[in-house]
Amino acid sequence: MSAIGLSTFARRNRGVLPGFGLSLGFTVFYLSMIVLIPLLALFARAFSNGMDGFWTAISTPRVLASLRLSFGMAALAALIDSVFGFVIAWVLVRYRFPGKSFLDALIDLPFALPTAVAGIALSTLYAPNGWIGSLLITHGIRIAYTPWGVLVAMTFIGLPFTVRTLQPVLSEQGQDVEEAAATLGATRLQTIARVIVPMLVPAMLTGAAMAFARGVGEYGSIIFLAGNLPMISEIAPLLIITKLEQYDYAGAAAIGAVMLMASFVMLLALNGLQGWAAKRR
């Protein structure tokens, strides 16, 4: 939008409230300086050697393995968080029990706890001599320093997204349809599975998409737990940092560009989902 176009537009639609030019100007300026121009720099660098250079940087086995791990485990973690997020949201909205508001407040812990703190805590818990790790190792299961460590950390970090998107939808949902289902002879489980859950699909997908997006990009809580072995338990964000330390800026930018494009896709999908959810309500 050109400056002249903007100012004539502002004059036409000014209304009575002041500050349109100033607040829009500052918003757009700040957004451009902090977000848009730096993101542009990322794409410029990723494609500085052309499409071929980009593909060469992306298609090495190590980069592909890290992307597969980040995206694959994030999808799995989003699935786990959706299932347990539904159960937790259901219990929080529908049941009454002592300590409920404490449980409710605790759900946001992964938002509030710095990821490095979560990382060293999870690592200590799941290490072979840790509280959980020592129990699992007797059954031959190793979490720490394997790809499963990535899954555990991503599940931790994504849980609030699924609970918090389901909770308001569940508490707003009228119970009349459940009563209707019951009068028509449905058992309670049938009502939950065939009536309640289908109504929650948009919110569940939204929560899962948010948990997935967060998991793909997560770094702090994973690196302490995953062991970071190239090709096995090395996540894409860590590989970006490794490439930066080797001064391979184009390589780092290429991985960053792939992750950023995935973020754009997720953002568009989320917008679509929220539109859908709003229409369904």
Binding site: V91, L113, P114, L125
Partner: protein
């Protein structure tokens, strides 16, 4: 007591099962990590914990984290207010797109958030060499830490205020202006009292993330001991040097801040339920 269960209530067996699953999952994934942080930090007594958080490097990391948050949070607060004012009080083309762009930093990986500033200000970057000629250092210095923190906490205040102010409409401000109030006086006396709890809520979350950010800051910090180490970076350094007690001491301090944040957040949600409900309906 009636022997009939209301049709919208789950059978006892289902209630107990789901309750146990929910509480068990939260205990395993959320409570245990929190417990282990405090257990490890205080394992050798409170004196060792105190030594851990008062040694010079730890103190300098605390100071740096507070300084970074003290710069980043006001900037994003100002931006949040400006963006919400623009979006809630005026109509213009591209508004929905602008709202989406404001949310964008939330879906960008923290590491990518740091990387973009390396590509802009690094020695191989767009402005790095030119700035170096004037002896201006962005990366591996305070400005880089602040920029990366601003990026990751960018949407917090804006996304609390936008739905709230859209919900409140323009009537009150229009009345004030038509009665002769100046723009600033309208904002200060009419808008601000209406949005203060939502604003506080956004600032609280923004501040918590600013103090705890790790990935983005890690990329731009350069890890210079005593100079560019924030609290989370200090935790990482100690942990990787096998100083577990030291690492968990600083980690416990951060965990206490997180718990304080959660407590204040819950308090705000209880006391100002109506105003905040408007935000979370959207």
């Amino acid at each position: 007591m009636s022997k009939f269960r209301p049709a919208t209530e789950d059978p006892l067996l289902l209630r107990v099962t789901l309750g146990v699953v929910a509480i068990g999952f939260v205990a395993l994934f959320l409570v245990l990590p929190l417990v282990i942080v405090f257990k490890e930090a205080f394992a050798s007594g409170i004196r060792i914990f105190w030594t851990g958080i008062t040694e010079p490097d730890a103190l300098s990391s605390v100071r740096l984290s507070l300084l970074v948050a003290a710069i980043a949070v006001p900037f994003n607060t100002l931006f949040g207010i400006a963006a919400a004012w623009t979006i809630a009080k005026f109509d213009f083309p591209g508004k929905a797109f602008l709202v989406t762009l404001i949310d964008l930093p939330f879906s960008v990986s923290p590491v990518v958030s740091g990387l973009i500033y390396v590509l802009v200000f690094g020695m191989q970057g767009w402005f790095g060499p030119a700035l170096a000629d004037y002896d201006v250092h962005i990366l591996f210095a305070l400005p880089g830490l602040v920029l990366a923190t601003i990026f990751v906490t960018f949407p917090f205040v804006a996304r609390e205020l936008i739905p709230l102010m859209v919900d409140q409409g323009r009537d009150e401000e229009e009345a004030a202006v038509s009665l002769g109030a100046s723009g600033f006086s309208t904002f200060w006396n009419v808008t601000l009292p209406n949005i203060k709890w939502g604003l506080l809520y956004g600032v609280l979350l923004c501040n918590a993330r600013a103090l705890g950010e790790f990935g983005a800051v890690s990329v731009v910090s350069g890890h210079i001991r005593g100079a560019t180490m924030t609290m989370p970076l200090h935790v990482e350094l100690l942990y990787n040097n096998y100083d577990y007690v030291g690492a968990f001491s600083v980690a416990a301090l951060l965990a206490m801040l997180a718990l304080l944040t959660l407590a204040l957040k819950t308090l705000l949600e209880w006391r100002y339920a109506d105003e905040l409900a408007a935000v979370h309906r959207h």
